[in-house]
Symmetry: C2
Subunit: 377 residues, 2 copies
């Protein structure tokens, strides 16, 4: 259980198979985000239909509402949300450190204010593991201390070292919980270090120091830094990562970022962009994003994306989708979210095929050229 097999390599890009309690995940793979135990506007049936293999849910949000006790009583996260495929939960760190409101970090953990009821709560490396054990995802993440992408070096360094110390505590707590049921859930560490390459490498060393993991995550990117800085960081970091471990790049992405990251050796991705942008009327297409409200679509009988096989593109015209958004109809939010999730899922599938066939490098160059050319118009 929790093994990762490499199925193909092309350039720095990898195709793999990750074995999880509820099924295999073929990488590269995009995870839709089900923040509150539901991927906004989509049902588990929709997600299966568009080829989703693995979902992300947010530990912070589920902890403050409805509470992990409620989820556990109702049969755990899979049963709760009606999704029997693999789930990964984040550590809660990103939310605690990025949401508005009171927050205080010390060596023990972090105290914060719930955005739901304003109450003070405390998250520690042990609590984050316990909450995720109660929720029951296939993959849990160790609590990390997240700092701003433009934080000064000493803050990045301080957070990195604290994250490393927290990881030891998280690992011990998880090992104790998992001892009677080792195949239930795995715990992955998060590599921090901003865009400072030497700190990133140090974070990798800390993470791997004397411990063995079934995978790891790269945090603290795609948080507002220039795209070039993210790509450069990944490029400098990848050679230091153990080739045998799946690499989850947190918070990515937009189509172009996902593909650039695959080209730099990343395997798993999550982002709210496909659903959030979908709800705002933005659809991903091979020629760049399109706003469905655009008046040009008013009488357009063609599909949103003629290359797409999703229900939205197979069933509805651009003219109809535009009407749904102009008329503030809920179905519009759903149909664009569905298409965008399919778009990123298919991007992972296509990348995988080209990696295995050895054509990834030229394919991804062409793909990006078309996408960027269309985005500029």
């Amino acid at each position: 259980m929790f093994e990762f097999r490499i199925d193909g390599i092309c350039g720095a890009a990898r195709a793999g198979t990750l074995t999880l309690p509820r099924g295999d995940v073929r990488t590269p793979a995009f995870m839709p985000v089900g923040t509150q135990g539901t991927v906004r506007a989509l049902s588990p049936y929709d997600l299966r239909a568009v080829g989703t293999q693995l979902l992300l849910a947010n530990t912070y949000h589920l902890h403050v509402r409805p509470g992990e006790d409620v989820v556990a009583t109702l049969g755990g996260l899979h049963r709760f949300m009606g999704w029997d495929g693999p789930i990964l939960t984040d550590s809660g760190g990103f939310q605690v450190f990025s949401l508005q409101g009171f927050r205080r970090v010390d060596e023990d953990g972090v105290e914060f204010q719930s955005h739901v009821d304003g109450g003070r709560r405390r998250l520690t490396p042990e609590r984050a593991v316990e909450i995720q054990w109660a929720l029951g995802p296939d993959i849990a993440m160790a609590l990390d201390h997240v700092v701003s992408g433009i934080a000064p070096r000493h803050e990045v360094e301080d957070a990195l070292e604290r994250t490393a110390r927290w990881l030891v505590r998280a690992g011990e707590r998880h090992a104790a919980l998992a001892a009677p049921a080792p195949d239930r859930q795995t715990l992955w560490p998060i590599v921090q270090g901003g865009t400072l390459v030497d700190l990133r490498r140090r974070a990798v060393e800390r993470v791997l120091d004397g411990a063995s993991w079934t995978g790891l995550a790269i945090g603290g990117l795609a948080v507002g830094e220039p795209r070039a800085a993210m790509y450069a960081t990944l490029e400098a970091l990848a050679p230091w990562l153990p080739p045998s471990m799946p690499r989850y790049l947190m918070g990515v992405g937009f189509p172009e970022d996902l593909l650039e990251a695959v080209a730099r050796g990343m395997d798993l991705f999550d982002c709210v962009a496909p659903t959030r942008n979908g709800r705002n009327g933005q659809a991903f297409t091979p020629d760049g994003p399109r706003n469905v409200r655009n008046a040009a679509h008013r009488l357009d009988p063609g599909p949103l994306d003629p290359t797409c096989d999703c229900e939205t593109c197979r069933t509805y015209s651009r003219g109809y989708l535009r009407h749904l958004f102009m008329a503030d109809e809920l179905l519009g939010l759903r149909l664009l979210s569905l298409h965008n999730v399919r778009f990123l899922t298919r991007l992972g599938e296509d990348a995988r095929r080209h990696i295995i066939e050895g054509t990834f490098v030229s394919w991804h160059t062409d793909w990006l050229a078309r996408y960027h050319a269309g985005s500029g118009t």
Copy 2:
């Protein structure tokens, strides 16, 4: 085409089969309402899955946005909204007379203000027919002059006589349009007359006077009058209606009203209640409506309605549905709408079976007793 066959009678209740261009409709049948060319929060796939046979769309709303020209250019209403089953459109009368804003009636028609752009528009019996011909539903309705349920007698009478005169004009225009394609669409008249039985009977006489129709609608009920008055009106009216014509009771209903109307000889129904109430967190159950936000559901692992076969009841717990509403998640709106539409659709299916088997009278009495007993708790 447009024939109605009686499949069974029990008491005053009827089971029938209505043949329409896009398929047969087995009655009694509930029509979900797709006001703006979409049943709010549901897709055509969802509607098929819950057994919807016939949809309603609103002529007024589609006329003001996106405009019947846009719908026609995009292939007509069926293609536009991705629903290849039968569709009925209303006449626009109810909306023009019930929405806020300027309105002036004369013998020619009615002038009103669009709720979208505030512009003045005019609807006449001929225009209402032309708009619906462009939209392309299987069943169109003739424009009616709708007055308040508490309007004085002379106003009800005046509106009834005007509706009768408008019907002649609508029928002539429809006959001209349909001459080259008689199997494309049928036109039904609307019987007005408030809760005044003699005026209702006069309206029926006017409607049937020298014309032949494939069905008719009862308008001006379920608009705020006491339930007993609606039931009494239907009971007094039914014997005057031609037995061979399908009878569409507009704007009904809530489960109990639908069943009471079936018991009084009505065949077709439409109402926004299942979707609107669903979006407000109210679920229909055999024991009366339930609000899913109720704290009692917090840890409830059971389905919303254990007797129901819809996706919502087969997949999710009450605890999860409550969470979706407490967390303002879009999926909640969809899942409750889906259940409520299934509930009313199944009520039609069950009524039909009991009518054909000759057990309707006792079944409907028991059903209503259970529903009312549960509603009181």
